[in-house]
């Protein structure tokens, strides 16, 4: 429907498009976190060690504006009373305060997925923890580059 006509632009869009729509887990979940995020994660995990896997975290690799960044978290779970996702925690590692949201889920949902739009103050990692009904914890993280505007003002 919208046909690009500018070759420079088309190249740029191809670059952008190449990184989009894929689920990302580009770095180990246990790479260094900011002190504030680490403290928040420690409060949740207690003595538990989060595992990798099960979480699909979708976020744009490049956010056009950090004030409105669409994100989606999908956790692989049957969502039955015996085996479901109880909570999903989202942190922005380098925001002034890392807390973004805590979701409380129940088996009634049928699928463990949440979508929202968040604010990121700068390029940073998004960190997600998922707590299962049996107490198991999973963790994922992905980097979102937040664009820097051209005009200095």
């Amino acid at each position: 429907m919208h046909q690009p006509t500018s070759p420079t632009r088309r190249g740029a869009m191809a670059l952008l498009a190449a990184g989009v729509t894929v689920a990302l887990l580009p770095r180990p979940a246990w790479a260094q976190l900011s002190a504030a995020t680490q403290a928040a994660v420690d409060r949740i995990r207690g003595s538990r060690t989060p595992q990798e896997g099960r979480i699909t975290l979708r976020a744009p690799p490049i956010a056009e504006n950090g004030n409105t960044v669409p994100i989606s978290v999908l956790v692989d779970s049957p969502m039955t009373p015996a085996d479901h996702v109880r909570r999903i925690y989202v942190f922005a590692d380098k925001n002034p305060t890392p807390d973004v949201a805590t979701f409380t889920l129940t088996p009634a949902l049928g699928r463990a997925q949440v979508d929202t739009r968040i604010r990121l103050g700068q390029t940073q990692d998004l960190v997600v923890l998922a707590e299962m009904s049996d107490g198991a914890l999973y963790m994922a993280r992905t980097e979102v580059k937040v664009t820097i505007g051209g005009c200095g003002g």
């Binding site: 949201a101 409380t104 949902l109 604010r119 990121l120």
Partner: protein, 111 residues
């Protein structure tokens, strides 16, 4: 002084098959003031956010979200729901002052 919670928008199908997982999408008009911005005169704009969202089905909480100031203005929240019977959803947004706003939606079983 919290500003009034704006108009909610909710989208979900009016009917679904038994066992079908539907998507519930919600949007509410709200500035989500972080408390870190200043107005033109240099005064801090007081923090004023939607703090909690709850979805109930026939009176039972099925989904909830605790929001921090890092949620964008006009919060968009979407989640799934497995339809087992006809019933009534109630969605409630509550700000830090304890004011809340609700919307209700019925769902029927198709066929």
């Amino acid at each position: 002084m919290a500003s009034p919670i704006g108009q909610p928008r909710v989208r979900l199908p009016a009917q679904a098959r038994v066992g079908e997982v539907i998507e519930i999408r919600t949007l509410i008009s709200h500035a989500m003031e972080t408390g870190q911005r200043r107005d033109q005169a240099g005064n801090v704009i007081p923090r004023d956010i939607i703090k909690r969202f709850e979805a109930k089905f026939d009176g039972e909480t099925v989904f909830a979200m605790d929001l921090a100031p890092a949620i964008s203005a006009n919060p968009y929240i979407a989640f799934p729901f497995r339809v087992e019977r006809a019933g009534r959803f109630e969605f409630t947004w509550t700000n830090e002052a304890g004011d809340s706003r609700s919307a209700t939606h019925e769902i029927r079983i198709a066929g």
